[in-house]
Amino acid sequence: MKKLFVYLLTCLFLFAPVAHAWDGVAFSSRAGVNPTGLVFAGLPLHSTLSSIRDRSRQDNDFEQNTVGKQYAFASSMNASNPVWDLDGSDFIAQKTYDINQGAMTFVADAGAAEFRDAGQDFSDWETAPAAGLASYRIVITTNNGISYGYMGASNNGGTDIDIYSDYALTTRGWKGRTTPQVSPDTAASYVVYKIIGTTNLAGDQSHIFLGVKPDDGQGVDQTFSSIQDNSLGDFRSMLFYKKDDGHVWIYLSGDGVNTTYEKTDAVIYANGAQASFNQIGFVYNGTTCVIYNNGSVEASTTTGAIPASFFDSHIPLAIGGLNVTSLPAGYLNGQIALYLIYERALTAAEVQRLVLQAWEEGLVSQN
C-alpha cells in the first residue's frame, strides 16, 4: 500500500497543473513565517510548499475511512486541484493497526501493566523508556470496556509490551478502564496508532485549515477534524466543525465529556454552494480558544469553562468526520487543501501570515 501511495503521489506531482513563473522564489519572504511546533501537516499535494512538506509528519499514517472499509487517502485526491475530495461518506483518520495475531492476555508483570499477544511482535512499536517519549499507543477493547496506554519496551520475544499511563513512560499502568491486568477483563481486540506531537494533542495547540470548502455552507453539521467518539460518553477531546447554521463550533473537553464549546458569533458559511475556500482554524492556549477565519480573529462566545488541557482520549485524530468506534458520523462533504497542526498556540500574526502564504503560494485560490 505504501508503494501505491508513493506511486500515486508521484503521478499527481508530475501531472498536476501547478505552475508559477516564480517557483524558485523563496518561501514567501514578505510573509516570512514558518512557525515552530508543527506536528502534523495533512498535505494533499503541492509542489512548492517545501518548507512545510519537509517538516510534516507523514509518518503519522493517515488513511481514508469509510464505513467498513479502509484505504489510502491518496486514492481520492483530486488530480486537478491539490485537495482532498470528501464526498460525505468517508473521512481521513490516523491510521490504526488492527492486527490481532494470537491469544491476548493482560499480564501482571510483577504488578505492572503489560499486554501479551502470543502471535504478535510488538518490537516495531516499542519505545524503551530511556529513549524518551512514547511513539505508539495501544487501545484494547475488553469485555468490560476500553483500556489503553502508551507502549514501552517489548519483551518475551516481542509478544509482551510494557504499558504506561503517561506519554513520558514513567508510570506503568492503564487508562480508560484502569485495572484490566486483573481478571476478569478479557481482551477482545486491539488497535495501535501513532501519537501526534509530545502530548498527543492534549496541551496548547493550533489547528489551521488552509483551506476548506464544504459543498453546502449549512444544511447539516460537518466535521473539520475531531478527536471524539460519540458512542462513548467520556472519551471526547476536541471537535472542530461547521454547524448546520453556518457557524463554526469547537468542543473542548478536559474530562472526556462535551460541556464546553466556542462558537463564532457570525455565520461563516452562507447557505448553499460555496464559491471559495475559507482558511479556518483555532488556537487553544489552556485559557482561551480563538477562532480564525481567513487569517483574522473571528468574534466568538464561550459556553462553559475552557479546560486547562484537552482530555487525553484514546480516539485517533480524524479529518472530515467523527471517528466514532461504532459508526463514523459527521462527515464533511467538500474539499480540504491543507491541514496544519501546531503543538503551540500561534500568535495572531503567525496565523495571518500562514494564510497569506497559502494565497501567495497558490496552495488554494481564493475562489
Binding site: 508559477h20 513563473a21 516564480w22 522564489v25 523563496a26 519572504s29 514578505r30 510573509a31 516570512g32 513565517v33 487569517g295 483574522s296 500568535t347 495572531a348 500574526a349 503567525e350 495571518q352 501570515r353 494564510v355 497569506l356 502564504q357 494565497w359 501567495e360 497558490g362
Partner: protein, 334 residues
C-alpha cells in the same frame, strides 16, 4: 754653569744620534710620488672614521695644503623602514641637505606585483577602474548602492478596493527589482484607529494592467498600523510600548512614521503592547504612527512593454481599512 750642562747634554745627544742612526737614509721632503712605483716604503695605519680626513703640512692627508683625496665608498646598509629615507648632512640620504632621491616602483597589474592607488567610493560604485584597489569604505558604498530607488504613493485607500499606480522615472524599460518596500505614508494619512489589513500587490507589463499582462504571481502581505502608546520612544533607545503588537512578528521591519521617519527591525515582542526594536536614530512621540514595512527582496523583472520607463502596479486591500490611508512604495531596480 747651567749653560755648560746644557751644552754638554746636547753634545752627547748629537753624538749618540750620529753613532746609532747613521744607517737610516734621510729622505728628502716632500716625497716624490712615482706613478706605477713598486717596492717597500712607509706604511700607514687605518683611515680615521671622523671627517674630514686631514692632517698637518707634512701628513699623508695634508688638508688645505694639498690636493683633496677622494675616497669611493660603495657599501650601504639597509634602507630605513620609516619614511622619508633621510639622514644628517653627511649621510648617504642627507634629508633636507641634499637632493631628493626618487625610487621608481612598478604599477600593480593583474599579472605583476606593484603599488596601486586606492579607489574612492564613487569609483567603487562605478566599477570600471582596473588600476585602483577597493577599500572597506568603498565596499560598503558599493553594497549599499544597490540600484536606483524610486518612491511613489498609491492613491488613498478607504475601502476594500483596488488602486493603480504607474511609477515613473525608471532608468529603462527592462529593469530588475532588487528591493520593494511598502509602508503607510510617513506623517500623513493617519488612519487614527489601529488597523491590520491584508493586501495583494500585482505588477504588469502594460499600463492597461490586464490580468494577461501580469508579471509573475500576486504578492500578499499585511500592513498593520498602531501608535506609540504612553511614553516617547527616545532617540538611541530600543522602542517601548505601543497600542498593539498584533499583526507584527519578530524580525519584521517596522516604520516609525512620525517626526523624522525611520525604519527599524523588530527584535522582541515583549507582550501585547510592548516591543523591542533595533537602535533608533530619532525620537518618536506618543500617538505617532507605527506600521509594518513590507520588504520584498525577491529579484524579478519589471519590464515595461509600453516602453515608457514605468512600473505598472495595482494594489488591492482585501478589507476596508476604515479611514483613508496612503501607502508608499519604494522600488529599487537595476
Amino acid at each position: 754653569m747651567k749653560s755648560l750642562k746644557i751644552a754638554i747634554f746636547t753634545f752627547v745627544l748629537i753624538g749618540l744620534s750620529t753613532l746609532g742612526l747613521r744607517s737610516i737614509p734621510q729622505p728628502s721632503l716632500p716625497l716624490a710620488v712615482v706613478d706605477g712605483g713598486t717596492g717597500s716604503g712607509l706604511k700607514l695605519g687605518d683611515v680615521v672614521t671622523t671627517t674630514p680626513i686631514t692632517g698637518g703640512v707634512n701628513d699623508i692627508f695634508p688638508g688645505a695644503d694639498a690636493d683633496t683625496l677622494t675616497l669611493g665608498i660603495t657599501m650601504l646598509g639597509d634602507l630605513a623602514v620609516t619614511a622619508p629615507v633621510t639622514g644628517a648632512a653627511s649621510d648617504v640620504f642627507p634629508g633636507a641637505n641634499g637632493a631628493k632621491a626618487t625610487i621608481g616602483v612598478a604599477t600593480a597589474l593583474t599579472s605583476a606585483e606593484g603599488v596601486s592607488e586606492l579607489a574612492t567610493g564613487a569609483e567603487t560604485i562605478t566599477g570600471t577602474a582596473t588600476d585602483r584597489v577597493v577599500t572597506p569604505a568603498g565596499l560598503v558604498a558599493r553594497l549599499t548602492d544597490i540600484g536606483t530607488t524610486i518612491t511613489d504613493d498609491f492613491p488613498d485607500i478607504d475601502a476594500a478596493e483596488t488602486v493603480a499606480l504607474d511609477i515613473t522615472g525608471l532608468p529603462g524599460d527592462d529593469v530588475q527589482s532588487t528591493l520593494i518596500r511598502i509602508y503607510l505614508a510617513d506623517g500623513v494619512n493617519d488612519p487614527g484607529a489601529d488597523i491590520n489589513v491584508n493586501f495583494r500587490l500585482e505588477f504588469f507589463t502594460k499600463d492597461t494592467k490586464l490580468g494577461q499582462d501580469r508579471i509573475g504571481k500576486p504578492i500578499y502581505f499585511n500592513l498593520t498600523y498602531t501608535e506609540v502608546k504612553t511614553g516617547t520612544w527616545s532617540a538611541a533607545g530600543t522602542g517601548g510600548d505601543l497600542d498593539s503588537s498584533a499583526g507584527l512578528l519578530v524580525y519584521d521591519w517596522i516604520r516609525l512614521m512620525g517626526g523624522t521617519a525611520e525604519s527599524v527591525n523588530l527584535v522582541t515582542i515583549t507582550d501585547a503592547d510592548t516591543v523591542v526594536v533595533t537602535t533608533l536614530v530619532n525620537g518618536h512621540a506618543v500617538d505617532e504612527g507605527i506600521c509594518r514595512e513590507v520588504r520584498i527582496v525577491d529579484s524579478f523583472p519589471l519590464s515595461d512593454a509600453d516602453e515608457t520607463g514605468e512600473i505598472h502596479a495595482k494594489l488591492t486591500s482585501l478589507a476596508d481599512p476604515g479611514d483613508a490611508i496612503g501607502i508608499t512604495i519604494a522600488v529599487t531596480v537595476k
